[in-house]
Symmetry: C2
Subunit: 442 residues, 2 copies
Amino acid sequence: MINEVPMLTNVTNEAASCMQVIKHPDKSEWKSLLARPTFDTSSLNDTVSRILTDIRQEGDAAVLRYGEMFDKAVLKELRVTLPEINEAANLLSEDLKEAIHVAAKNIEKFHVSQKFETKKIETTPGVICWQKAVGIEKVGLYIPGGSAPLFSTVLMLAIPAKIAGCKEIILCTPPDKDGNINPAILYAAKMAGATSIFKVGGVQAIGAMAYGTATVPKVYKIFGPGNQYVMAAKQLVSLRDVAIDMPAGPSEVQVIADETANAAFIAADLLSQAEHGADSQVILTTTSEKVIEQVLSEIQVQLALLPRKEIAEKALKHSKAILLKNNEDIIELTNEYAPEHLIIETADYIQLAQQVVNAGSVFLGNYTPESAGDYASGTNHTLPTNGYAKAYSGVNLDSFIKKITFQEISREGIQNLGKTIEVMAENELLYAHKNAVTLRLK
Amino acid sequence: MINEVPMLTNVTNEAASCMQVIKHPDKSEWKSLLARPTFDTSSLNDTVSRILTDIRQEGDAAVLRYGEMFDKAVLKELRVTLPEINEAANLLSEDLKEAIHVAAKNIEKFHVSQKFETKKIETTPGVICWQKAVGIEKVGLYIPGGSAPLFSTVLMLAIPAKIAGCKEIILCTPPDKDGNINPAILYAAKMAGATSIFKVGGVQAIGAMAYGTATVPKVYKIFGPGNQYVMAAKQLVSLRDVAIDMPAGPSEVQVIADETANAAFIAADLLSQAEHGADSQVILTTTSEKVIEQVLSEIQVQLALLPRKEIAEKALKHSKAILLKNNEDIIELTNEYAPEHLIIETADYIQLAQQVVNAGSVFLGNYTPESAGDYASGTNHTLPTNGYAKAYSGVNLDSFIKKITFQEISREGIQNLGKTIEVMAENELLYAHKNAVTLRLK
């Protein structure tokens, strides 16, 4: 169930459909003030476990059965065929294809720059250690269905997987009732280098990729967003069977603004996040009452024109404009909140950015909207929500590789290091460990 | 329950207390041949959940109560005091202190070399993206108790945490019946830079660090080995409350050897792993029957002299010597097994090493025993077991940092990239995303 945040002191609802305004909250109130509208997926675990067990035991038959039940699609073939993939290009506008190419090039450029270079280190004469980055051989990407085709997420996951050298890049996404996948998803998947695409959605997709079926290969790591059932399934399979990108929660943005910022831009940035879902959260932090007033007023103007007005309104209800007394407090609150997205629209944004230690992706200055990072700046948009930025990075090239360590010790090296190892092994009461060195010293 | 591996064809037990020998197994048998003696911790979840719930609700009182129950220690104070820490140095031999210093220096040198350097990338003129590595502010290290003091693990976790810039480095380890911590652990913890040490073990330690108590601070990520209860607790808290280093399983080694290898060295390496625990697994792979014969015979000789003979014997019972027909098969089997430790003792070890894609840490040549990496070569010994090396790295500097992405777009930059973002947002039906750009293009 959604945990609604308790009412706080100094709270006023400036407009019926707009965010709460909190002025100078006491630090003791920050924690409840910053609480997310989270969803506890453990209540879904029974349902999700049952589906996962069926998929583990029955494979494709269960995948097809649940696909009919949930996606209403009766499929003969789970795998998307080459003609279907090739046809996709004919169904998209030239504008969209061009945009996908531009975004893909930027994403590729930024993620290629993250390639790891091996350095050999001689820690002791004759003892050489190094790391080697190797792409995870088989990865699974989940792209949710629903009202909008998330082809941008296809780019964000498949492009770094390809750069990392992942050999099998499996993509699962639910079909529509007629058994079709949106052509923008197919087009982006082909361009980005997905090796197989399957018409499988929801818990079935996670189960199929975690265990493998006759048709869908088992993968070693699963990436991608999803609804609460998908999140619960990812968590359950991650306990034993497969790695996952990160735990997930509703999307969120925090904006830090001062009077040099443009209230219309800020309002648009807050609404970009609010339109994602009713459970999204947006936070405005500022030292200026005027900024809050202007932004709330701009939100009303812009909100009226949005097709997803109702969703955004719901999100705004658990969203907040927080007036703080100085930048130190703003930075402290930001690092406590650990926002998925942080937009800093202030004159001194560089100085503030240097103090950010907990955030997913940071957008600097008045001309850097979150939507740039969502689509095309080159940074990844799969980011840690729910405060997970305190411990997790967003998806990046590292997410698709593992680093294997190597060590090579010469006869001279073991002479130099041998006694150290013997003494330590002996003190940990591990005499076979010691003996492996003693024999070599002789 | 421990899953015993089913019996296979072509299996002979060369000696009563020694490993199984499997000659030229068919590839269809590899999967069951390579099955680990794993333990399903989900059977412990009820017990572990109850303890965790008590700790979440009662804090220190529950920590003390369970400590009395499991560690038999009646404590007044959970925190190790400064005099206790300082006294530790007086209780250790000079040899051991010197060994700890040498190991620490190598571990430091190798992990410092892993520091991340920010590169700013201009993906499109006016669009600059970069990553910044920031240490996770609060980390918790768990060091198990038991027969041997694992001061080496203290070094392996606290040194990279310090280098990463973690501000709070909390260490929990169970006390003995008299309420004392082994001085080697205290000495290593102080030297490596732990900021607080607590006399808390088992599930209590994981709960205390995951939720925080009046005495033990809440951390954002928990590291370290432990028994099955600790493993179950780490998994449970990782679902919502805190990140963990990686899932864990029994330790294991695979040796690849040819006739240029020294059978006594190989036997010692296999036994080093076998003495870790009855559930350890050791695998010898070779194309030479002679190597198998010689190694098995050496194992008998060395085993007889080991203090931990009984443990090693039990481990050897589910361990295997596998004869394969060529190096291609050896590499294929290795990458399928994905060993935690891989020792390559062959003439052409460099060439073989280049083909390894799934392993935790690799030891090259005849003078590189696993115990070098366990203690002092500089590489980390906290490594992915149970085949997790297919998706996970061992602990390294990355484990203690997260990378925040930044983007800074100029007015010119948004002109260059704006249309791309607008077209993509529109096609994902996210009009507020589009509007955040449109307003800025005006």
